[in-house]
Symmetry: C2
Subunit: 337 residues, 2 copies
Amino acid sequence: MAVSLKDIAERAGVSLATVSNVVNGYRPVGERTRQRVQQAVDELGYSPNLSARHLRRGRTGLIALAIPELNNPYFAELAEIAIREAAGLGYTLVMENTAADREAELLLLDGSRRHIIDGLIFSPVRIGRAEVLARTADSPLVLIGEGVHDVPHDHIAIDNVAASHAAIQHLVGIGRRRIAFIGAADGGDRQSAHLRLRGYREALAAAGLPYRPGLVAPTREFGRRDGEQAMRDLLALDEPPDAVFGYNDLVAIGALRALTEAGHRAPRDVAVIGIDDIEEGRFSNPTLTTIAPDKEAIGRLAVRRLVARIEGTQVTAPLTVQTPFRLICRESTSAGR
Amino acid sequence: MAVSLKDIAERAGVSLATVSNVVNGYRPVGERTRQRVQQAVDELGYSPNLSARHLRRGRTGLIALAIPELNNPYFAELAEIAIREAAGLGYTLVMENTAADREAELLLLDGSRRHIIDGLIFSPVRIGRAEVLARTADSPLVLIGEGVHDVPHDHIAIDNVAASHAAIQHLVGIGRRRIAFIGAADGGDRQSAHLRLRGYREALAAAGLPYRPGLVAPTREFGRRDGEQAMRDLLALDEPPDAVFGYNDLVAIGALRALTEAGHRAPRDVAVIGIDDIEEGRFSNPTLTTIAPDKEAIGRLAVRRLVARIEGTQVTAPLTVQTPFRLICRESTSAGR
DNA sequence: TACCACCTCTATAACGTTATACAGGTGGTG
DNA sequence: CACCACCTGTATAACGTTATAGAGGTGGTA
């Protein structure tokens, strides 16, 4: 059933190697022969067996993007950008969902899948520096997000401290004084949660506001549900907050929901801001103010660096890039309501 | 760098074949030898080369799920379920985004990627019966959704006509009479849009309501933005609708946004219902009434049938399964507001 | 004419794995 | 003791591809 080089070679009456050369353009082939071969290829509908090609050549043209939460739109949007960029460079990007599971992350880093891809863009959350250093696979690795630092790989992330700082500054700017943070990490992982908490504290200090541990709500995960529950708890405080900074947009949207259900209104009673700029926040009611990372830059840069490493055109030392972000002010913090 | 069977064999002082037998458990190996080999495997950190294995065995353990919109949460949620089910059966599922692009769909069906996966779960929207029939790849294919019918492959979908009928029935039941439909397909593709339109018309007729073409709003795509624009247009009519049925939840959420912006309220002025039961609709304001397909059933069934075909345990004729759905009534259609 | 350079094309050895066929040893049975 | 069955392990040929070395032919130059 499957058509192989051999079938083409027989049909065209040439050798295996010649067909390969026509298909890959690796070495010049005479015009007459080339046409005969091409015709056979078209007629039989040949497409090369990637496994065999990989085995021989060491490249599949496949790269993977590994993310911790498939149903977080932030990653879906990022993936879409990365897929486009990869296609433009002649690569196919496959998505892998680690589901924030440690075993899944380890497997991805060093498991059997590594043999099938040319390189990996990875957003780790459950493994640390040691695991990345212990990796034996030799395909290039580009890290995104805050999971792991100080490893010999390219690394792309936003400045989480600064981003979080900007969010708080905005809330302070619209006159809020009791500012809560939803989405502190419970365990030791989720480095970005720590960094965003740090930015939160720094910004409070800079604004001359006290740091109140009671206004910091840890969550187990970072979905809408977690934000909703945390917001309910915050509303039950003797002195509830007048503003909330969500670890990400999903958490913030959950908080919005809890406010609505409790009969409060944002931003009148509580202003809400998130991070990620997912499309959902442009359509929520109220629309969500957010810190927008430059997803386009992150996605494209990650793919470009990975491909550069794969093709060996980039032999410089590992590079760490901080991509820009900007504040997008929408209804959930704007006074006009 | 990469550790191969040969390295293990040398280290353990046995033959290549024996190592392979230990790793695969294909044939019995003496206890002493097995332990020596296992130790070498652990020490050197061996993991089999999938390309080579595939080349020899014809299986990679990889299956693909191809969806038309990565940033539609419906597919993300479905993917998450399918990934879990696949893992439970010993397979790795990779996601492919066709972005509703015809070329991408064709490539997936018959391109070089086919050599690297054992089977494909496919939700086609731009190709039809002819293209599927012309496929030459011999790995199993399971179709989901309404894209293609009457082909010799397993097929899983909900009954779109009935689902749409149920949605309209609900709107009629709460007393609405001018019911709009957002998300009719513009072109000839998107079979499910046609089916949902048919259910809409049937239900109107069954309720003794007239079919008003002016209340049917075609959209180019099926995102929040499309729903928002369509709703705006509907509100500009001389006699705007008192209820809206969205092709999917995203469209319905866009409609909700347009209502809010125009100063209307759902369900008081216009009731809104969608299809898909994405998590976002449980947190929107108002929360979104929806027809919930049994995503768990679809995802698990699709994977199970595919794996059965791959492993040849299922040699029955192609099966078409209609999975159940149910109405989930939330704020956007419930009177208490 | 003799020689070399060049241009096409071909034969073949890998890549890492698994299935097949077989070799050697041990124990049991007639 | 002869024979067979069985168990454990091995050598080897594929799978489809590409890189390397080289074969054969043509044309140009000394």
